[in-house]
Symmetry: D3
Subunit: 252 residues, 6 copies
């Protein structure tokens, strides 16, 4: 049994609270155990300069943590005057992953900004952020499709993320909390689609390297966890889920 | 009747949820109607360079908004690489106000960082932030006093803030929401102590100037609103309130 | 008697030297005792992006101090690469105050930049800056009105500022110099118009809080001081004063 | 046959020119076809603040491109005043990978800076950089071990990196050049050790997602390519290779 | 006759007003015609990190212009967040020149900051700044020598600067004003010592190149102008001049 | 004999390797002894804002050093977030010098960016950069002239730069290496055209001042060195040299 009583292949309790804040087109508060992230999706009626005039849209993400989301207080990146490498890596990852399941042509010349703000951190903030960002984005697109701003619902598949790792005591484990992450020998983040394909695999063995058979165990575990996340997303996004599942038909 | 059905001298519903996030020494989620601010107080075991070696502490505040706390999305200050003048003004104001009711000698060489992060904005974010920051700070000091980290509870009086303004239709009004604030001719923020003294008065008449008699009406209204906020704070901070009220005795 | 021999309600010698530097449309060197500020007003033939296409103008201010305007040398903000919160607060205050007495529609799509550069500081730099900025701006508008660049003189009333404070020894005092300001328990800046209305009230009691009756004494003192400043401004701006006083008629 | 006549599982010509510049403790010019990177390793007699007093060392990397290393000119990051997210990601990756094969205790309180400057880019700059950085670092450590600055040669295994991808026409391909990379559906970078373990796997499918069986093909291809790189590294680093291979014995 | 009626070899009226502002150890307002620069010298009781522990001092300079010192308003470097290349060039030049006539050992571990702030510009701001900076620095050192803070007056020779140029109409001319500078084919700044040696020669022919014989004419003209500046400096710095001239003796 | 066996008036071996990197329109690797600089010229089809609409072009330069081009490692300017004053001075100098021999009207509305990146430094990096930048620029223009992008070859004369200095032991010396430069009393950089005119003279005597006769010796030495550089440039730029020499005729 793990430090919080979970089995090796068990997710923490995952809760997605839809429409958490009132101004964004879509928003959720997502919890992976004690990790809590506010995800909000904003639709802006223009695209960045490098996309102009192509008749298609763009999806981008930003990620941040409140200074005291963590055990000890972090200096704000706005006070330091620059983003850390870690922040940049994570927000590039979220944006890239979201774009893999969006039909950018169907958005028109609009930008979807998905903001992921961690209000409490206990490991797995980037995987919670991807999973919540997808839900917030779906809620925003559902409104746009419902009021005919967009001619169809532009999301082509489910998308979720989970972390897996290797722990000296338990071997391969799913959805690491902060205590587990700090001691893990290998740390891997997986992002997959509803059809079981990979979008991103990022595995790092700073403390130790890993073999191909360990890699295979981690992938098995991740696939199991992500399939559970899809069910939770579907429940949370309500009507947007029916749009997503019947996307081909609704267009006609 | 005002746009949301309130009387001229009526606050919006004010809720203070204590211990909202788990890592900080003290934290609250404060709501003034639809304005919601996470306030957290962190105690750091050192002081800024200009305070070193004096045997006393420091209290400082930071203020920020999530990008989509507002009607339209704001660019993050961390992306822009600098704080706006508005942010600096507000965070300097919060820190100054908090210090007016803290015995810095009693803290020892420690810094209290109070972070005020607006997750949803509907007018009055700075007054909600001051009022919530005070509560979060008290919760943090209560723990420090309880576990004898600090030799006494260093807060000397209650502290709360409210906005008042002049509206063409209703005259002087209390606790303006965003719609009211946008149309107000005069906008004033008041910060007061439990003993009825002023800590800050900031009144601005960009759209219109104001007379001395209007000023007096605004001050009357603000005094009424702030006295109601003290009762809500007292309820929310629980045991810290009893420390605060018997502060002189507990020390001995 | 105060440290420099003044009565409680006495201003320092105030001198406004018009047309102090040759390039700006309007400029003054203003002295409040040993506090000396060069104020210059520049008229630019365009407005900032958020004002474009509205057919009206904008007035904005910038404030800075030479590094050795003060007792000990300050690092330049250009070397630090950013403005301090204090600088931002002051320049926002000056701009807001000036706009309260300018008819922005009458300017046309132009920006008036008022630069306030403190060459020697001895307390009250922001009130000297507001008072001098108003004079420099009037001189610039007078030229624009005289040569028909603007169809009328767009200033609607006089504007001046003064500091007041509470001192342990003398009680309420007017126009604090640096030595007084450093020891004051309460510090307040007032900005008023020629018709006796308030534009800004900013009162702070970092060292001590203040009561409503103290506030009233400070306001009385400030009103007295500001009325004396109007006379000095009128003398200094010469022909611009006659434009200002007959503004309604000259337009026709 | 691929655009440049290679087989699917064929590396571009790889050349490592040791001691390319005279000042650094170790340096190489590495070419993966037309991709050319100057890698230099500098040993500094101190560690970053977070490592002080632990008696161990640190290895870190920096990555940059000359403005015209690419088809069209890029603005310098020094002129923009900040590093791009891409640069930060790559230099964090290189540093992390190098540390996985270095015994930090054996370095003592020293920092090894490995600078990777791309002078000509044609795809695969990050994999060439990792592979060259390893060689430059070994050359620097060899000198330190030879002159007894370090008590042993601190590198524990070979380290190299290669890219693999999926191309519509050829399927899985090894070591993509820029033309191939631009059209690839899946892009993956692998970093492995001489003992056949993984250090990093980073796979991204922005244009298309990828299945588990495609992943397996890519891993097979990468393992083949990396084993060839080890032979080239061994040749290039000369005496350092014999230190590396007999590292256990030389220490005694 | 030149545009302002001067002969080719004639300086503009040069005025040096000593002790212009009250806080600095030394200060002057220097005018070269309509070019006016406030120069102030501040003595700080420490040296920059690279000088520590050597028992000697440092002299450095900073240069800036008020935004409306020029014909059209310049954006403040503090608002832009960085110094221009022109500013950096000029302040490095001033610092280097001052150090050439100061015995750094005689200062002790102190830094002299010389701030040159142009309040009105009409060509030749850098030569006026050097000439005024020298005077301000002498005044500061005189006080330090008089009150025995420094064991001797550390300035070893006079120092002044002037511009020379080639004009299509008049040939070689001395001390160019802005109108002349804008049209000059060659622009050269000379800095010399009281003993007739060169400290800096900076000649640029962006519009046209220049021959060796033109160079010789320019040097002749500059030598004449600088010798006149020494007389004006000597007058202005009063007692400091006697220290400077008898520096060898006063030490013993 | 000098430290490296040269005569006082002897250049180090100078090598210009044309077309050193593949993407730029023109590029060279230039060596002045152990000083090595990659110079590349990029032609961009637009001009900076201040040049727009005038039908003419612009030439600008950027200069940088790899972190370990020098004896000890320098922090990257991209990491520091700003350019040093030294870098700005040098790149402004290179750009100004190149423009003195280019007919900007003949370029059309294009910008030529010349990047000078020092990969190994041993004194004289700025003079090597100017000399190599000229060659890279000529190669780029030759292509543009050959393919009729530009109606004529726009370079009007040769351009090269060399350093000269005064050394206690050898007197005036040509082309100082780093060891010589560190000990030189006077340091001067000369830039001249093929017709024997001066473009820039920058002489500095931080350690010692210099007399007019020393200046003359330095100029003689510089003229000799630069004339030798022209022969090496001519050889390196091949066909571009014939364009340059017959520039008047080819146009017709």
């Amino acid at each position: 049994m793990r430090v919080d009583g979970r089995q090796s292949d068990e997710l923490r309790p995952v809760i997605i609270e839809a429409d958490y804040i009132k101004h964004p087109e879509g928003s959720v508060l997502i919890s992976f155990g004690d990790t809590k992230v506010i995800c909000s999706a904003s639709i802006e009626e223009r695209v960045p300069p490098f996309m102009r005039g192509q008749g298609k849209g763009w999806v981008t993400a930003e990620y941040a943590m409140l200074p005291r989301a963590t055990e000890s207080r972090n200096i704000r990146e706005s006070s330091k005057g620059k983003l850390s490498g870690r922040t940049m890596e994570i927000q590039r990852l979220i944006g890239r992953a979201l774009r893999s399941v969006v039909d950018l042509d169907a958005i028109g010349e609009r930008t979807v900004w998905v903001d992921c703000d961690v209000i409490q951190a206990d490991g797995g903030t980037r995987t919670a952020a991807v999973t919540g960002a997808f839900a917030a984005m779906c809620l925003a697109f559902q409104k746009a499709a419902a009021d005919k701003t967009m001619k169809k619902f532009p999301v082509t598949d489910y998308l979720a993320a989970v972390s897996v790792g290797v722990d000296e005591e338990h071997g391969a484990i799913l959805d690491l909390n902060y205590a587990e992450d700090s001691k893990a020998e290998v740390d891997m983040n997986l992002i997959m689609t509803g059809s079981g394909e990979f979008v991103e695999i990022q595995g790092t063995g700073e403390e130790a390297t890993f073999s191909r058979s360990q890699l295979n165990s981690l992938l098995d575990l991740g696939e199991k966890g992500i399939s559970e996340l899809f069910a939770i997303q579907k429940e949370a996004i309500g009507e947007a889920a029916s749009y997503l599942e019947s996307e081909g038909e609704k267009e006609s």
